[in-house]
Symmetry: C2
Subunit: 143 residues, 2 copies
DNA sequence: TATATAAATGATAATAATTTTCATTTACAA
DNA sequence: TTGTAAATGAAAATTATTATCATTTATATA
């Protein structure tokens, strides 16, 4: 079942956030489409109904909604990049959210899943991204 | 086995790229650490040995190395964001690299792997990111 | 080894994305 | 109602990324 504006609003309330017209507008926009939207795209849509809204409010609202896991952040290609040496061959990553340490791991095969998805959706799949985020041992010690 | 500067250089050659001191310096820097580094961080490191290098050259070199899969791009938290409504509960994504369409999929469980990784590395894993990138049916038709 | 030439570089500017600051407004608890 | 902390929007500041273009350079080949 999809998340409605009403549902989102309730969760905001539960967490002590005020329910402003601007936030409603952002929620409505996001809840009204399957697309993934950049902050700028959301701004443009919201702006139609709510011409006085500021882009900053979009960013702030998105941060809150993401923190509450009401929306989710995607990391497709393009910007937002950092690099590490490529271990030989295909592999995946384990990333420390605190210090940025990256551990490569191999031996986990996603081709079965890839084929299933391709069959089910008609997508021609070119690649994938599998990353685990957490705290490395060091960063656990130092709180 | 880790990728050495020498190995990287050979691959560059094979693909018809010239071997410049700047590129060597970038390769050396990347090959010399396990860390993942932002373009800015790489620039700072390279800049020490090679004060005249331009940041633009870093970007250009990284693009090439990524294209040749000698390094890999990470998408941890932070910037590079676009949003989609959260389907009820945890799910993963299939993203069209051309038009940006996103399909959520569920029913793929990574907790086994997560536990294995946690045991092996001592990481306290907080979450993960699993995304497949490809072309949706529409974008396949329209080339 | 000298030379021709396409490729690469770096300075600079342009663009785009994101965050900070701060004075003003507003949601909502009491 | 009213008080107050929270939220907003304008503007500026930062930061990331890309485009342009004159100059330099790696390297194939004579
Ligand atoms: Mn993989
Ligand atoms: Mn998952
Ligand atoms: Zn760490
Ligand atoms: Zn598409």
């Amino acid at each position: 079942m999809r998340l409605t504006e009403r549902k989102i609003a309730a969760t905001l309330r539960q967490h002590g956030y005020k329910l402003t017209p601007q936030r409603r507008a952002v929620m409505r926009t996001i809840a009204s489409t399957q697309d993934h939207l950049t902050p700028a795209a959301i701004y443009q849509k919201v702006h139609k109904d709510h011409p006085s809204i500021g882009l900053v409010t979009i960013y702030r609202t998105l941060d809150i909604l993401a923190k509450l896991e009401l929306i989710c952040e995607l990391h497709a290609g393009g910007s937002c990049r950092s690099y590490t040496v490529g271990a030989r061959g295909h592999h995946h990553h384990l990333i420390c959210s605190n210090c940025g340490e990256v551990i490569d791991f191999t031996g986990y095969d996603l081709t079965q899943l890839e084929q299933r998805l391709s069959r089910q959706t008609g997508f021609e799949i070119e690649g994938h991204l599998l990353e685990f985020i957490g705290l490395c041992q060091n960063c656990q010690k130092n709180d």
